[in-house]
Symmetry: C2
Subunit: 334 residues, 2 copies
């Protein structure tokens, strides 16, 4: 097992990425190949001594955050994200982890390992901290204009992933809408509801915004526009709430005393809203394992994303996904 | 000034609605006419003595929460929401407040006072607790499939409302998308961005999910599907966070002590996330004033919604909105 990590991707690359990779090697015992500018990676590694199972694959280009993903990946043949996926395509690595341009990660995956059979569009699934355990929200930004059939395929892929990697048992799939009845929602969602009803999947019907993080329905599908808004809003709210609370408590003497005494409680509270536990969002629907991390990921998030990638490979999720997609296809053509 | 309140609308109608109306009369000095079943309203009023400026308009029907709004309003000629808007159409009341079926409120408004010139689709604007003051999000559920021009009209209306009723000065209008650049987003948003750029409005460009409650941009436009998901997710998160924190603090002896000492701080924290300050969401784009309240509104929320309706009328928002819509039309045809 070897994970290719895009050393050049992320707001604080390569330093934070390299630290996270080193932690994955030493704490999780996973082999990592850092893909990026060798000199910069070596500088970031110093003064640490590099263990044998942490290697470097030198490359000279980077797809920047504000660059057109498709153009960047096509034109920069030596871009770190492209080289990382080529290692997977050649069988020299088992998965890719990147905190860089997520569109470029998607584009590089499609270009190298290509789309999975039965999938019209790959999707990015975010693992969010639900009240009763993790919630998988798909798609969070790969596809902004989805057809109803894309949403059904997202459901199949997220379900296979959650069963294999998160230990969920027959997870229910909810369709994000603005009312519980099947007739509620926009045209895309009303049509997707009909497809889900006929799909043979474990479909929970429509769910609303208030249900997303409740966790009663652990898989939520929506188009990438809505999902991206939901993800960024939730992250902002969690971060903001921690900040307001801190300011309120530190502003008064009694508050400071309360904060001191209740420190353990606040730490647990923060952890319940933490977004870095899984470290990254799996890119589902390509013939390879890819994990997309937040640009501002901490080294802990990078380490956890590498751990998630290893579980994804170990549990043979790609095979399960392919077999369930093929079952869906048969169901629909019968 | 007289506000028509739909006494039969809401999860706890007529009791909670009647209490809120009575509080608006006694605390805010606003005249209210309660529209609903007279016997039920009288029972809810007891043992309070009814002041002269709190009257009752008897009617026999109700559009239920799960009923088709348009059908309900058309067929039930004596439905409370329809009768309330008819009072406005006849000049016997100045505004309508309802915690009932919001689709029915929209339908009744369109049927009685009709759509405003220059507006293709009315929208519901929610006033949310932003970090730097209120944020107006429009649309939160009236229109699930919007055209780009609808989004621009939402911006004009919300801006006129926020200027007149919330004291904002030349508020900037943001277009909710999934990236800051104009080219980012789905097709609807990319086209709307171009329209906004040519509109002469105070356009701040695209904003993302994380910016919604930051408050840097106080007016956010989006289609009613996305807006409804955002509103319900935010409400759920705010409610959930208060609950987690309480459970964490009450679960440990030190936490209980911290909670006791820091009580004032927690109250302020809760208030910063409170959604009942404005009580309701204005329905913008009809020739009349309508405020839509949450089905589960408290009596305090109903009272505040009545206060908001009165400010809406007092500040002649409808006239300002009409004049700005007509300026937009001229701008676009030049």
């Amino acid at each position: 097992m070897k994970i290719a990590v895009d050393a050049m991707g992320g707001d604080n690359a390569p330093d934070v990425v390299v630290q996270g990779a080193a932690a994955a090697v030493s704490e999780l015992g996973i082999d990592v190949v850092l893909v990026g500018n060798e000199a910069a990676v070596n500088t970031a590694l110093r003064p640490r001594s590099r263990p044998d199972c942490l290697t470097i694959q030198n490359c000279t280009e980077v797809v920047e955050m504000d660059e057109s993903p498709l153009k960047g990946v096509r034109q920069k043949k030596d871009a770190s994200i492209r080289v990382a996926f080529e290692l997977v395509a050649r069988g020299e690595a088992d998965a890719v982890v990147s905190a860089g341009n997520s569109g470029a990660t998607l584009a590089a995956g499609l270009l190298t390992v290509s789309r999975m059979a039965g999938v019209e569009r790959p999707g990015i699934a975010s693992i969010m901290p639900g009240e009763k355990g993790p919630v998988v929200l798909i798609d969070v930004g790969a596809n902004v204009d989805c057809r109803p059939s894309h949403l059904v395929q997202f459901g199949v892929m997220a379900s296979a992933f959650a069963t294999s990697c998160l230990g969920m048992v027959q997870p229910r799939i909810g369709l994000l809408s603005i009312g519980e009845e099947g007739g509620k929602g926009n045209e895309q969602v009303r049509l997707a509801h009909e497809l889900f009803m006929d799909s043979g999947l474990n479909f929970a019907g429509n769910v609303e915004g208030r249900d997303i993080l409740a966790g009663e329905v652990p898989i939520i599908v929506c188009d990438g526009f809505v999902g991206n808004v939901v993800l960024k809003l939730s992250e902002n709210l969690a971060e903001r709430i921690t900040r307001i609370l801190k300011a309120e408590l530190m502003g008064a003497f009694l508050g400071r005393m309360a904060a001191f005494i209740g420190k353990g409680c606040f730490m647990r509270f923060r952890n319940k809203l933490a977004y870095e536990e899984y470290g990254g969002a799996p890119l589902l629907g390509i013939n390879g394992v890819g994990i997309v991390c937040h640009g501002g990921s901490s080294s802990k998030a990078i380490k956890n994303a590498i751990g998630l990638a290893a579980r994804y490979v170990d549990n043979r999720v790609l095979e399960k996904m392919a077999s369930e997609l093929s079952a869906l296809k048969k169901e629909n053509t019968q």
